[in-house]
Symmetry: D2
Subunit: 155 residues, 4 copies
């Protein structure tokens, strides 16, 4: 696999987009540079103002030593979903950084092709910081994990 970034959209154009517009590009088929989304098969499923959903399908390469899905997978999904939820609220040119992430693990997930769905939602977006919460469920709606995050915002 090539790791050459495929720049689909001009950088100046990207800078002129709000967070919501930028993330909605992610719902299209535009080529993208390599990312953890490719590594995990994690795909953007929904983008609203203040709420973002990612999905993936589990595989044996997600295993922890017990043979269930490693906690890092839910942490990665929640970090993406909650951070992007914050991002949807930002105007063009603003950016955010995740300061901290907390994840509660509720139920082990199978590595045999199970769909996991992570939704993040903002709780508070202020001038210089934001917080969000998120949940990971399987395709039957069972709660796998939930979390919260704190982000720093630069405007």
């Amino acid at each position: 696999m090539s790791t050459e970034p495929a720049t689909a959209v001009d950088a100046d154009v990207l800078m002129s987009l709000s967070g919501l517009e930028l993330l909605r590009l992610g719902l299209t088929d535009a080529p993208r540079p390599p990312s953890i989304g490719q590594l995990l098969g994690m795909r953007l499923a929904d983008v609203e103002y203040g709420s973002v959903t990612f999905e993936l399908t589990t595989q044996p390469l997600f295993s922890n030593p017990l043979g269930t899905v490693h906690g890092g997978i839910a942490a990665t999904m929640l970090d993406s979903a909650m951070g992007c939820a914050v991002h949807t609220t930002l105007e063009a040119g603003a950016w955010y950084a995740t300061l901290e992430l907390k994840v509660n693990y509720i139920k082990a997930a199978s590595v045999q092709g199970q769909t996991l769905i992570a939704t993040g939602q903002t709780i508070h977006v202020g001038r210089s910081t934001a917080t969000a919460e998120g949940r990971v469920v399987d395709s039957e709606g069972n709660l796998i994990a939930h979390g919260t995050t704190t982000c720093l915002i630069r405007r």
Copy 2:
């Protein structure tokens, strides 16, 4: 790649090992079933009673949308290092589950072949719960992230 588990050690033998003995098997070349360690190239670097270190080398497939290492990578390393640190203290037949994980992100890491080193250490191991803390540094010792975890123990 085959996802057929390569059972290197008999299950009865595994059950007779303490957590420390079991984790030290991970330092050998014994074949292992597919795992997140393979997916990320994450390798066990050191195992002591109450302390475990994992390492990996970053790659472009670890990228977040900003082009630096996604927060899920440090979360995965910390979850492994802190959970395994708790595991080293358990007698044969006992097991643990991670109840929650908190990660603070300090510095962005490059996706261009940087070595990341995560060390977890137990803070408290009781009869039914344990806590641990961990840090992720790069090869120059810069702090990338730190975290804490709470585990449930079954004896």
Copy 3:
């Protein structure tokens, strides 16, 4: 002030009550032993299955060095509201212990007689652990803080 516990209800009776019944006693005028509720003037405002609300009125003795309400006050309210929310779901004889608490601080609160209202709600109650979330708002509905908790359950 006497620190002699004023036992309003016989211990055998208490042991026969579910968590919900026990907490609802807290809504009555029954005398109670000294507690942090007395110290802070924190009063139980609502008890439902899986959800508990506490209120208090701020005072200058709640000040941090900046002259606003110290973060410990919201932490105390959230610990009470979320822990009690878990408690309402437990059968007679079962008990819980808080393993960890995380609080996000959103807005400073005034120490000049402001009403603070903390509501905790369970997210997941399993056989041996439970999680809950909570929010603290002022009398105008402004979000002051929010949090999550992990509890250990003994049945």
Copy 4:
């Protein structure tokens, strides 16, 4: 009790002090405005660059419904100790706000006049954020609770 602030030091003087100098004033007998320190009998025991220790003596008014020290007490002590540890590193005119606090509870503490000692230490102090960790022990050195915090810094 009067809630009239007793201003011991001129405000202009205060503004000219570094965080370390300001906190060391707290070790003197200078009169102070009402604060949560007075409410809980919490006293500053040590102030170093990057590390601050508070102590208090437990009392029945710190009780939770189980009759042990309420989790809010350790949370309050940790919030103070960790936040002040960050403060000691700040130059005159800079200030900080606590964004989040996480506390792990290890051991119940008695409400019968037990000494609790909370020490906070910075982990990382950057330009706009800082993190710290802390521990609460009793007079025999038993670990009661530990925690971490994230602070926002304004320079």
